[in-house]
């Protein structure tokens, strides 16, 4: 990863995605203002081809962008927009302005009407990229009927579009959104988990019981060590997923990234809350901004159960032992 690139993105996202802003957007306010800041930063063009006016960077740089978005729980779809804007010109379509997201839990009926269920960032996006075996389409949210998912603070939405929705932009072939969505979500999770670790360490050093900081107790130290292991492994898995040329993820690497992140999140969230005690589950304390997202992201674009099954099928279908298989088929 390019450390300088990460530092500059991280500084930007930290500055605009403060806990107060995250809460405000989750209450339904301020997303447009935040998006203007994001748009002005130019980071949404990071992956767009240079010929189309972007920076032309690839997945290893996307890792830096997505990690920073996760670290600060950015409540608008910069991660998704950057990828979709880069992929649309490849499919022969100019990207529209405004925040974009991508869907996998979607379907279209015989009349051509699309519906998306629990669409990540659905409440804060203007456009949704959908795809099935017949082809892809970019759908304007304004032309559909949007409902929140009913979960406190969640930015997911259910959206139904009529057949021949006004302003819909059809794309000729299908686009693999599942692996891209899985990989960016895994990287967002790696960022969020890193921040959860930092916050939990700070809390453990600060909070005193029995006359000393709780981080001095061996039982707590052992839990925090386990947490660090999970955070490191999930981050490495995301880096592996984000390796290679271009912006289309390697399917097996994306699978490892998402499976590992989802598994790690289970432990990381549990330990973070165990160490924080009751304060950690209050709305006013910032930990929940990250742990609520991690819980939601675990299942978005496939849980570890789904991806492990995919990986297992691929491994069993091959003929090599595990190490040669990893080296030949999986690792960068």
């Amino acid at each position: 990863m390019d450390a300088l690139l990460f530092e500059s993105i991280d500084r930007f996202v930290a500055g605009c995605s403060t806990p107060a802003v995250v809460r405000e957007v989750e209450r339904g306010q301020g997303a447009a203002a935040l998006w203007s800041e994001v748009e002005a930063s130019g980071y949404a063009e990071l992956l767009v081809d240079e010929a189309a006016g972007g920076a032309g960077l690839g997945l290893p740089e996307a890792f830096a962008l997505w990690l920073a978005c996760g670290l600060h729980a950015l409540p608008v779809p910069l991660a998704q927009t950057a990828w979709v804007r880069a992929v649309l010109p490849l499919a022969g379509l100019g990207a529209p302005r405004g925040p974009l997201t991508l869907a996998t839990q979607c379907s279209r009926d015989a009349q051509g009407a699309w519906r998306c269920q629990n669409l990540p960032f659905g409440l804060v996006s203007d456009w949704v990229l959908v795809s099935d075996a017949q082809g892809a389409a970019l759908l304007p949210v304004a032309a559909g009927e949007r409902q929140p998912n009913g979960v406190f603070g969640s930015l997911q939405a259910h959206i139904h579009w009529p057949a021949q929705a006004a302003g819909a932009l059809p794309l000729p072939g299908p686009i693999d959104l599942l692996h891209a969505g899985a990989l960016m979500t895994a990287t967002l999770m790696a960022g969020a988990m890193q921040r959860v670790l930092e916050a939990t360490l700070a809390f453990a050093n600060d909070r005193a019981q029995f006359g000393k900081a709780i981080g001095k107790f061996q039982a707590v130290q052992q839990q925090l060590s386990v947490m660090a292991e999970q955070v490191f492994a999930a981050r490495m898995a995301a880096q592996i997923g984000c390796s290679g040329d271009g912006i289309a993820p390697h399917p097996l690497r994306a699978a490892v990234a998402k499976a590992r992140a989802s598994e790690a999140a289970e432990k990381v969230v549990a330990i973070a809350h165990a160490v924080h005690g009751a304060i950690g589950v209050t709305a006013e304390y910032d930990l929940q901004l990250l742990t609520r997202r991690l819980q939601e992201w675990r299942a978005d674009f496939g849980s570890q159960g789904y991806w492990n099954a995919q990986l297992g099928q691929a491994l069993v279908a091959a003929t090599q032992p595990t190490l040669p298989y990893m080296l030949d088929e999986l690792l960068p």
Binding site: A204, Q221, A234, M236, Q304, G312, L315, P321, L323, L331
Partner: protein
Amino acid sequence: MIEPLTLGAIPSSAESLRPVVRAFLDEALRGRPMDRLARSWMGFDAEFSRALAARGWVGMTLPQAYGGGGKDAFHRFVLAEELLCRGAPVSAHWIADRQSGPLILKYGTAAQRDFFLPRIIKAEVFFCIGMSEPQSGSDLAGLRTRATRTAEGWRLKGQKLWTTNAHRAHYMIALVRSSGAPEDRHQGLSQMIVDLSLPGITVRTIGDLTGDQHFNEVFFDDVLLPHDALIGEEGAGWAQVTAELAFERSGPERIYGSMVLFDAWLQHLRSRSDPTPAELTLAGRILTQLVPLREMSVALTAKLAQGDSPMIEAALVKDLGTELEQAIPNLLADALGADPLAERPEDLLRTLSYVLQVCPTFSLRGGTREILRGVIARGLGLR
């Protein structure tokens, strides 16, 4: 705070070793039973070690001046992961190759290097590590074996315990107290190279629960060591051992310990027409753990290659790696018993039994799980 490990790549010069090693192993391991292969770095075969040495694969990282390969840590990583994943019996030379050789190179006198390194590289001499004692396991600094300087040399008195391969190694690098008392903890400890053929040394083998004999108790009854048995600086033993443990803990043996079993189970799945969804998901679950761990291990190797001593990161990777090594036999035991009516290959079951029984040791050797997590906690700024 520990810095995250960064994804790196093994240089192509080191990668070019891989096909050569594979071709050698295809021949050298042919016909060995699966449950013997599963012993891998606990499998002792001096002849096999010498065959590796004849190809320049012992002491690869040691300088050419001593007959070594003069290669970087990546070469050793490639060799090690190929050997371990295939279950090559590398125990005889492993400790010398991994830690005693590098230790002697780093801290030894010219005479010590000239004497030991060529012999290690030819797999003529094997080493063991004398750390644990009856009253000093995880609390290593409390050890009581004492070396006293006299006019004719060092007088060694005490006892070591759980010393792997002491009954078939030529030398032990022992951590001993050379001044002060156990209460002085990390002060006053030194490392000694002990010739195990000297009078006054008794080695008694202790059988393990699988029927294997690898660890020992070693008694030092007023053993006279020459002055130059001291390796490194007198009193600096703790720092030297700590640096040595980074080598011990960062290698790929901490992630691949159950690979022979896993690959055998995989072959079993592949031979059947009907693997269940649960079996496929399980295969994927293990792969998901393995892939990032392997790359974390490569990242550690990059740090070793730069001359760093990544102790905290090594503890982190080892703890995570042994968790996987122990999870594999337990998960496979469940999977292989999922259909009580099915016939299962006998050699696979025998291999499973071996790994299941021995796997508790994976998180004992080279520092227990609890000690490693303490090391990580220190790296996290908690202690």
